[in-house]
């Protein structure tokens, strides 16, 4: 496909979406430059131990992604930030901290998401109480193979708080981050597996088991692992004299407030559009939606297209997504891009 070889596409972000799209585009015969601000490709999945719902190792997905970008047509520049993007006719001139990139025919924004900063929910005492940690830090504990509290002992009771920074007007996030519920269920099971004597309590507002086999996982958590689910949003956490965390929550199903001590409090932090992504968006004046993510050209049949011709989206920069959806979204982006590059409307602009 020689006429494609001269087409240059720049993908910003080498996470799940970026790598998948890059691989697919390269197989179609396009030249791809993949720009990643971190030191290594893979994105958030890099620090994930196991994935829901089938508990496959994050490593496997990582390998898949590395396989995707292992292609001569793909040129990856790591630890690289975008300085500016300028549109010239139908070409994009991208300047990075490593210099000017070859002019691109299309830009694919795969800038992904930032994790919600739990310090903004002061009442949970993250960064103040030693044993308040995030879902990500728990994944790291799983990776390290041991779950210990700050006192260096295994927790007798673990609390998991859903919707931290999601569905919360107080921090300006109205959206649901989708994956936290099932992540909580998965992590609850993992805790029970590693520490059978440990009680696990999930504090949820709604259980949103949107994906295939998610509900089944939830059921398994209840039946096989006897994970306790309490419907109510934790209002505050404090430390008591033994240094255990005292959690206050309304047990909405009992219609009564409830307080209990936990040794470890895990915050299911949600997704926000990445700051770096939003900075780039300013250059290209891409539209940002109500939810802070990039707003797509059409919610039903154009959710890879942006408001700017030649700039496309893939993955969680448009909305909270799980890995499966991110990969499909990225592949769909490839189709959009190649049909755009082949289309005549582009030529007339020249």
């Amino acid at each position: 496909m020689p006429e494609q070889k001269d087409k240059q596409i720049i993908i910003i972000g080498a996470g799940t979406a970026g790598c998948t799209a890059a691989g697919q585009l390269a197989r179609e015969g396009y030249r791809v430059s993949l720009i990643e601000k971190d030191g290594k490709p893979g994105g958030k999945v890099n620090n994930w131990y196991q994935l829901f719902p089938d508990r496959r190792k994050g490593e496997e997905v990582r390998e898949f992604l590395m396989g995707e970008i292992d292609n001569p047509l793909i040129n990856i520049s790591l630890s690289t930030d975008i300085d500016s993007i300028v549109k010239r006719k139908n070409k994009y001139l991208v300047t990075t901290t490593r210099g000017v990139m070859p002019p691109a025919d299309a830009i694919l924004m795969a800038t992904g998401f930032d994790l919600f900063n739990p310090e903004r929910k002061e009442e949970y005492g993250y960064g103040i109480y030693n044993d308040v940690i995030t879902s990500v830090e728990l994944e790291e504990k799983f990776n390290s193979g041991s779950i210990l509290t700050s006192k260096g002992i295994p927790p007798k009771r673990v609390g998991i708080v859903h919707c931290v920074g999601s569905r919360d007007e107080k921090v300006g996030n109205f959206h649901c981050s989708k994956v936290c519920c099932v992540t909580a269920v998965k992590q609850a099971i993992e805790i029970r597996e590693m520490l059978p004597a440990t009680e696990v309590f999930c504090f949820y507002m709604d259980m949103r088991m949107f994906g295939p086999y998610y509900e089944e996982l939830y059921r398994e958590a209840q039946e096989k692992w006897v994970v306790n689910f309490i419907r109510g949003k934790v209002s505050e956490a404090t430390e008591n004299i033994e240094g255990r965390l005292l959690v206050k929550v309304e047990d909405t199903l009992a219609g009564k407030p409830l307080k209990m001590q936990v040794d470890l409090l895990v915050l299911m932090i949600g997704m926000e559009n990445s700051l770096s992504g939003r900075r780039i968006a300013e250059d290209l004046n891409l539209k940002i939606g109500m939810n802070g993510f990039f707003s797509v050209a059409d919610n039903h049949y154009g959710n890879n297209r942006s408001n700017i011709k030649g700039v496309f989206y893939a993955g969680t920069c448009t909305a909270a997504m799980n890995i499966t959806d991110t990969i499909s979204h990225a592949r769909a982006a490839v189709v959009e891009i190649s049909s755009y590059l082949k289309s005549s409307e582009r030529e007339v602009e020249v």
Binding site: R219, Q222, E223, V226, D251, L253, A254, P257, M260
Partner: protein
């Protein structure tokens, strides 16, 4: 004790660490499906006793798990054991046995340990 014309109010809060969850454990041991409740309230909606009382298995289920035993005692005997709830439960909880075991557990609790 002086009377100042008012008295302190006992908090409604469920003190999970202080409550006795023996009954809950007893039921879980003998009827594992007890853990499957998702609080949908189907049972309470079809309940024969609920026509006349504040009986709600949905609520009872939670109160048992939280060790709110006084209220459990108050509610559990209102059940007629008719079994409609068992037929409607979307999670296949053996609700009838849950109540049966609850009553049994309290009977044991009153005589000796569960």
């Amino acid at each position: 004790m002086k009377n100042f014309g008012f008295s302190s109010i006992k908090p409604r809060v469920i003190d999970y660490d202080r409550n006795n969850k023996a009954v809950s454990d007893y039921i879980l041991k003998h009827e594992p499906s007890f853990a499957l409740c998702i609080g949908c309230g189907g049972c309470a909606a079809t309940c024969s006793a609920a026509r006349f009382t504040d009986m709600s298995l949905r609520k009872l289920n939670i109160l048992i798990k939280r060790g709110e035993n006084d209220e459990v005692r108050r509610l559990m005997n209102k059940c007629m054991l008719c079994g409609k709830c068992t037929l409607v439960c979307p999670r296949g909880v053996n609700t009838r046995n849950v109540i049966f075991l609850t009553q049994q557990a309290f009977r044991k609790l009153d005589n000796y340990a569960v």
